[in-house]
Amino acid sequence: MADLRSDFIGIKSPNPFWLASAPPTDKEYNVRRAFQAGWGGVVWKTLGSEGPPVVNVNGPRYGVIHGNDRRVLGLNNIELITDRPLEVNLREIKQVKRDYPDRALVISLMVPCDEDSWRRILSQIEDTGADGVELNFGCPHGMSERGMGSAVGQVPDYIEMVTRWVKQYSRMPCIVKLTPNITDICKPAEAARRGGADAVSLINTINSITSVDLDLFAPQPTIDGKGAHGGYCGPAVKPIALSMVSEIARGADTRGLPISGIGGITTWRDAAEFMALGAGNVQVCTAAMTYGFKVVQDMISGLRDYLDSHEMGLPDLIGRAVPNVTDWRYLNLNYVTKAVIDQDACIKCGRCYAACEDTSHQAIAMKPGRIFEVIEEECVACNLCVDVCPVEDCITMRELEPGELDRRTGIRRADYANWTTHPNNPMAKAAE
């Protein structure tokens, strides 16, 4: 059976599934129950400086995007960092770590952007026994208005500066948590690396307004008739997070920097995808907030089954898809596929037809008796039909054999060739 034990920048945990810094890791009671449920580690809810704790709104904190059956697809929040006193958090962290020495316990931090504040907090957490720190440069609401969170994460120079202080005043492994609210995710990752970060974690939440109350004319969640943008997370953000993780994994100046993958991870499959794109471990928030701590059990059994069936160990998975992430210009333009409809599986809903006929290439024929057939002469292989078909694997894409005629273009399938050498490309180099 696959060994799921994980070693992330020297922090050991029985599996690579950590809870992200958020309400699930807000206090001792939660974290103990999370560990009992099987989570490999937690990043404690972000701590601030000592003194009066931050205050949260007392109205609703969340907005939501639902799919069918009110399935939570996206969650938006306007919560701040921990609103509990620093001493209480520190005491609890120490007690939990003492009782769960085999689990990873990382402390998330966010204090004002000056050297003193950082030196002070680092000395205060020194004897908790925690395994590392995560710098929250990502929170996009509230704290950012006070010059913290994403206000730091959006300025690479600040990231580098703070990371340097942290490495100077603490011996703990340091993870820098990145905000996705920037244009090029490699820039803050490079800054973190320059400052001496041991790893980056991403993504934190995305600036968002999930919905507008059409009677109050205010964003939701609505606090006394007004709303502010919040941070978006949950399954809907996974594609954005995956892309950003892959950019760092293959970036010229970021390659090799350990990554803790976060963003919309709900099942073992999501986790495996993050790891294949280079994440050394993963962190989860919304899935736990939606279904409770027990979701980790499916993540563990699922990842184990997957690794076993592929005869892989965890290290074999990490980064395995990175070499296959490339730029568009290197994609093989001579790779030709055609949609094929499995008539036995087809339930005759006609969605493929509507999609192709109305919005694509008129490559599906609707015949008497609601028989839907692909017209190979028209099919450009966009696979929109595959995506809209309600029956899994009912429509598949068949790859043309080498030399086989593409009935749309009248050209036989040729060997690999990409845009860089394509005759229509004014910048094309002559093919070697």
Binding site: N68, D69, R70, I347, K348, C349, G350, R351, Y353, A354, M366, R370, P390, V391
Partner: protein, 444 residues
Amino acid sequence: MSQARLSPGIVPGRLAPEDLALNFRDIAPPLTAHEAQVAADRCYFCHDAPCITACPTAIDIPLFIRQIATGTPDAAAMTIFHANILGGMCARVCPTENLCEGACVRMEAEGRPVEIGALQRHATDGLMARPGHPFRRGAPTGRRIAVVGAGPAGLSCAHRLAAKGHEVVIFEARDKPGGLNEYGIASYKTVDGFAQAEIEWLLGIGGITIETGKALGRDLTLEGLTADYDAVFLAIGLGATNALRTGDEGIGNVGDAVDFIAELRQAADLAGLAVGRDVVVIGGGMTAIDAAVQSKLLGAENVTMVYRRGQDRMTASRHEQDHASASGVRIIHNAAPVAIHGDGAVAEVEFCYTEDSPEGLVMTDQRFRLKADQLFRAIGQRLDEAPGSPALEGGKIAVTGPGRTSLDKVWAGGDCAAGGDDLTVTAVAQGRDAAEDIHLSLSP
């Protein structure tokens, strides 16, 4: 246990009032808002959806379900009513497993269709509960149209004509309008006086008058109507019933299922309604099922439905048959009545087993008898006789296109007209289409 429960003969009050109330409660209670949301989420919004094709009134089902899913059930109801003004009744009585739901692609996918009928009821109930009526009468045209029969066909035709601005008078032979909605449909499908409430709501459009107690052929003539009105729509249903070949006239406690059902539908107190201890129903259609099931629900101890052909030939849907079986009705196939025994009143019915053969039904020499103190005939209804003699086809009024009869200015639709199944929804479709055709013919 009430005293009368096992009394022989035809007696009232076999069950206690609370048991009767329980037995005759709404068979398919309305969906809650949550259930409706979950059910609506299952619709795939099919292209050129097969469910629409399967609905005789061609309601845009994916559209109305999407309107429910997006939180606008009133808009959904309007989508339904534009195609089918009796969408409320149809939602309750349509044999959906043979119609829209039977064609739903989810049947193919997982054998469980989108609950179209229940969703239709969800939407229509909501809008009908609001004050007023959502359609407006068109600007008066000065044209007057006579509709004969206030069943679903007549009502649907009248509403569409009123929407076009015509003035409509409905002549109805009975004391109450509604046709079989009021006198026929099983009572647990349309509880709480829904049939009359729906008619009152429908009349909210204005421009329609109903004259009850006026029968064509008795109080009115077709010649008179065609002379007085710009057009006539015949929607008189099927008034007469078929008789048994055994010769059942004059034998006590033998009657028509439709009469028993009508009496049941009109009963102010079900505890006062008499029913036999051993009831036999002959027939294989919806009427036979309804008579059998409701006899059982009234407290009959043994109810047997006997159909002369095989199960696959029964016109009652599989769902209806299962409902009868689940209610405790025994269904015997391939047996035909040959004699009724009894002294003055029925005591036993004698049957002969039959076999379906290429030459038709053949009697075998196997016979059996069923104990019966009440016998119902449910072997089909037919047209009384077409007043004013339009041409007939297969015993019904012959029509071409949207209900045109052989007579000038006379249209027909619903059960009395040839073509289409004898269903409420088909009657609604035919009434609506005839109205459009009448309107066209009257337009300059």
